[in-house]
């Protein structure tokens, strides 16, 4: 199959990653996880070792270490150190890209040496870093853009920041709770205390309930029938269906709405 050929560059880096991981796992014991009450402890160990062993972005060797003292996040440090090495390694299809990005970072590092607060919304968690250096921010943004653009087509790099900004607008700052499914005791607020407000904080969670295809088809047809019967009640066009309400097109946490386009022609079925 042709996809095998396309996968080999990713496989090469993945093989490296795997062999490293396996070495460590052998040292730590067998594959099965001995799950203690603090599952993150082990994860922390292995990922920190990883950060040291795998310097895929070797020009930013201290980014993990230096950013740690700046963290005021309610989550543990391991999250940020996990981001930097791994995102670069898996997304890159060749080492040339790494080199290119390093050069980019170096350039941008010289321009703006300001420190400010950085907030990242990722996977339903919020990370806040005080006094974050601007050059590192550019690195993060470049890494994030690169990771995205290899995964899908047609998305411009800037849209990444737009989405981040859009999320910032959407999130209700007055609600204190930040759901963190990984660490139970990290925040004082648990979902049980304030049950009704958390849903908006899951990224892309506006329409979480998936709709069955058969029902979706029926709703579309029903709308068309209604339009057919009462064409004069619509605002703009005679006989055409009304514009869909916003709810329909919001992304769901599932795969999104059906990609079937409703036919503009109304099938009278006579």
């Amino acid at each position: 199959m042709s996809n095998l050929g396309q996968k080999s560059p990713d496989r090469a880096s993945f093989v490296n990653l795997l062999s490293q991981y396996l070495k460590e796992k052998r040292n730590l014991g067998d594959f099965s996880l001995g799950m203690t009450s603090k599952p993150d402890a082990k994860g922390l160990e292995t990922s920190r070792q990883h950060a040291k062993n795998m310097n895929f972005l070797s020009n930013m060797p201290n980014c993990s270490e230096s950013s740690r003292p700046n963290l005021v996040a309610s989550t543990s440090n391991v999250k940020s150190s996990d981001f930097f090495p791994e995102i670069g390694s898996f997304g890159a299809s060749s080492s040339k890209e790494d080199t290119f990005n390093k050069t980019d970072f170096m350039k941008s590092a010289a321009v703006e040496p300001k420190n400010a607060q950085l907030t990242i919304f990722f996977g339903g968690q919020v990370f806040v870093y005080n006094d974050f250096p601007a050059d590192k921010v550019k690195e993060i943004m470049a890494v994030a853009n690169r990771g995205w653009s290899t995964a899908c087509s047609g998305v411009v790099a800037d849209s990444a920041m737009e989405k981040l900004n859009a999320n910032l607008d959407k999130i209700d700052y007055s609600s204190p709770h930040i759901p963190d499914l990984n660490i139970t005791s990290a925040t004082a607020n648990s979902p049980a205390q304030d049950p009704s407000v958390e849903r908006c904080q899951y990224v892309g969670s506006d329409l979480r309930i998936a709709r069955r295809n058969s029902l979706h088809k029926f709703f579309e047809k029903r709308k068309d029938r209604a339009a057919m019967r009462a064409p004069y009640q619509l605002n703009n066009h005679q006989g055409s269906p009304p514009p869909p309400k916003p709810d329909e097109n919001k992304p769901s946490h599932e795969e999104g709405q059906s990609s079937k386009e409703t036919p503009r022609d109304i099938d009278l079925n006579l």
Binding site: M1, N3, V15, L17, S19, L22, F31, S32, L33, M35, S37, P39, K42, G43, S47, K79, E86, I87, F90, G123, G124, W148, A151, S153, G154, S159, K163, D180, L181, N182, T184, S190, A192, D194, P195, V197, Q201, V203, S205, L207, R208, I209, A210, N213, F218, F219, R222, R229, P244, K245, D247, E248, N249, P251, E254, E255, G256, Q257, T262, N269
Partner: protein, 600 residues
């Protein structure tokens, strides 16, 4: 030689008290697949006898085994059901080319499975050529063909079926995506088949079917008992209804504004299972004369409001199966509780959000409590609620002791839900409904705490399939859950964002688990490193990483849709599959051991 044979027969008989012949006859009465599975594990001889006498096999995921393996074990199979794509495909969450091709199976059926009379493909990809091969090889003996939510074929493929499979009793195409070229296929069936009993192309978009052909089928097939069709004006079916003398079940059709109304329509006298598409308030009275006979009523695609539901359902004291949308409301459910004491299955789907959401058209704890007290024979309940309380779930646990399939989805229209979290209610429900085998719970953050998730694990002693959405708070909940669920074979998780290593740990602990589907998990690293802890022999892991897709919606606006990561893991005797689309990435035990040797 003859001596040895007698010796063998004697020794077997003395050991078990039964000769093989007798044992074979006894086994024919054992149908339950779990019993059969137990029988086949007793000893080699019983395994062989089971293999020779097993009539039906359901392969829950076609990639768990291969056609050759199936044929080697069950060479005399008479009935086969194969399932392909994950259930999420029904909600448009799985890419069309995910997999589930029937071609290799059809090849095996055509060449070797000579006793096969009944074929059921569910959520699989079928080509016209597959249908031709099936028709040519098995057409003379095939009694039942079900292409259930399948795709990839056209009416040309159905033409082969119509021409070649003349002994079909059942042709089932419900909810399949069929490319329509013409209506010749139904004409072929009408001309060639006189034994058809069940014809179903409901929820397909086939519009070129001629009602005259339907009428011909009704005339030729004297045993035609169940017909479900796509949209077709009801007035055109008057002739069909006249001809179908023994018809008991009818779904489909369509109603349009007709100047003289529908008084001319008379239904066959035995009709007791009905679902008329787009039936509205004005057309409803035509079914009133039959209402007392109704055993099944499908109002999912009708255009009735709450009051209409009440008027209709109160006339149906013999109703056993009801499907509708939540426009039935709590008031409608109270009518159901009062009137339908025989009710066994109830499905209440959610209406589209843009519908006027008056409080009448919503289902809440009030309706559920009434239902629990009124319909004590209820076995299957699936409901989308707008509001819920622990007490209503406790009622279900107290009264509905026959419940074996319970599914609840909490809609997200209401900001504040009366009574969350649902820990107590869920516990009471699971403890009370001891026969529960299938369970689905889709809530919202805060809907169920970690303790509640632990209860699900602890009290689900009989549950085989579970769907959990937005439950629990953290990995600790998942780990507590995984300590229980002794019989859980298939687990689907959505929107919970447990971490990879928690998922891996949970999977290892769930002793009966053979199929895991996860939508949205916390990727700590993009290489999904932590999931490697899940790898083991015979366990296939397929990943679709989180991605963003740019789509154009109905009005031409560009929408960026976030697709969270998917994980699908299942046991397979065949190793990793090769027919997957590009975006799926597989993790596999064999590969791990290979890399191990490299790094050493």
């Amino acid at each position: 030689m003859g001596e040895n044979y007698n010796e063998l027969k004697k020794s077997t008989a003395s050991q078990t008290g039964l000769t093989d012949v007798v044992l074979g006859w006894v086994m024919l009465y054992i149908d339950d697949p779990e019993d059969r599975s137990a029988v086949s594990l007793v000893c080699r001889r019983w395994y062989e006898l089971d293999a020779l006498t097993r009539k039906h096999i359901t392969v829950a995921l076609c990639y768990t085994t291969s056609p050759e393996r199936l044929r080697r074990r069950f060479p005399h199979l008479e009935s086969l059901k194969l399932k392909g794509k994950p259930r999420a495909a029904m909600f448009d969450m799985i890419p069309e080319d995910w997999g589930g091709y029937v071609t290799p199976w059809v090849k095996e059926i055509a060449e070797n499975l000579t006793c096969l009379k009944s074929v059921h493909f569910r959520r699989m990809i079928v080509n016209d050529s597959d249908l031709e091969v099936l028709g040519r090889s098995r057409g003379e003996v095939l009694r039942c063909l079900k292409l259930d939510k399948c795709s990839g074929f056209s009416t040309d493929g159905l033409l082969h079926v119509g021409r070649l499979c003349r002994q079909l009793r059942t042709l089932f195409l419900e909810d399949s995506s069929i490319i329509e070229k013409d209506g010749r296929w139904i004409h072929e069936i009408a001309m060639n088949n006189s034994v058809l009993e069940t014809l179903n192309f409901y929820m397909t978009d086939l519009v070129k079917v001629s009602f005259e052909d339907l009428q011909l089928i009704a005339r030729n097939c004297r045993n035609l008992v169940s017909v479900k069709i796509s949209d077709c004006e009801i007035l055109d079916l008057v002739g069909f209804f006249h001809a179908a003398a023994v018809l008991e079940e009818f779904n489909g059709g369509s109603f349009y504004d007709q100047p003289d109304g529908y008084a001319a329509v008379t239904f066959p006298s035995r009709l007791c299972r009905l679902g008329l598409t787009y039936m509205g308030k004005n057309e409803m009275p035509i079914v009133f004369p039959f209402a007392p006979l109704f055993k099944e009523l499908d109002l999912l695609y009708a255009l009735l409001d709450t009051e209409d539901h009440c008027l209709l359902i109160q006339r149906c004291p013999n109703l056993e199966v009801l499907k509708t949308r939540n426009v039935i409301g709590d008031r409608g459910l109270e009518v159901v509780a009062r009137s339908c004491k025989q009710l066994k299955r109830l499905r209440i789907e959610a209406d589209a959000e843009e519908e006027g959401m008056e409080d009448e058209g919503l289902v809440s704890q009030t309706g559920l409590m009434a239902l629990a007290q009124g319909c004590l024979k209820l076995e299957h309940l699936a409901v989308y609620v707008s509001d819920i309380t622990n007490a209503s779930l406790e009622y279900i646990g107290t009264y509905l002791k026959n419940m074996c399939d319970f599914r609840l989805v909490l809609l997200d229209q209401k900001e504040r839900i009366t009574d969350l979290p649902l820990d107590k209610g869920v516990r009471a429900l699971l403890r009370g409904c001891g026969k529960l085998r299938r369970f689905a719970l889709h809530l919202r953050p805060g809907g169920l705490t970690d303790a509640g998730l632990g209860y699900i694990g602890k009290y689900s002693w009989n549950i085989r399939w579970m769907l959990l959405g937005y439950v629990g708070e953290s990995d600790a909940g998942l780990l507590e859950f995984s300590k229980g669920c002794p019989k859980l074979q298939k687990l689907e998780i959505g929107g919970c964002f447990f971490s990879e290593h928690a998922l891996a740990a949970a999977m290892i602990r769930l002793t009966s688990l053979r199929y895991l589907w996860v939508l949205g998990y916390r990727e700590l690293s993009q290489s999904s490193r932590d999931l490697l802890a899940m790898t083991r022999l015979f366990w296939n892991i397929e990943l679709v990483p989180a991605r963003r897709v740019v789509k154009t919606d109905r009005v031409g606006e560009v929408v960026v849709v976030e697709h969270p990561g998917h994980l699908l893991a299942y046991y397979s005797l065949e190793g990793p599959r090769i027919d997957f689309p590009d975006l799926i990435f597989r993790l596999n035990y064999q590969r791990i051991s290979l890399y191990r040797s490299i790094s050493l």
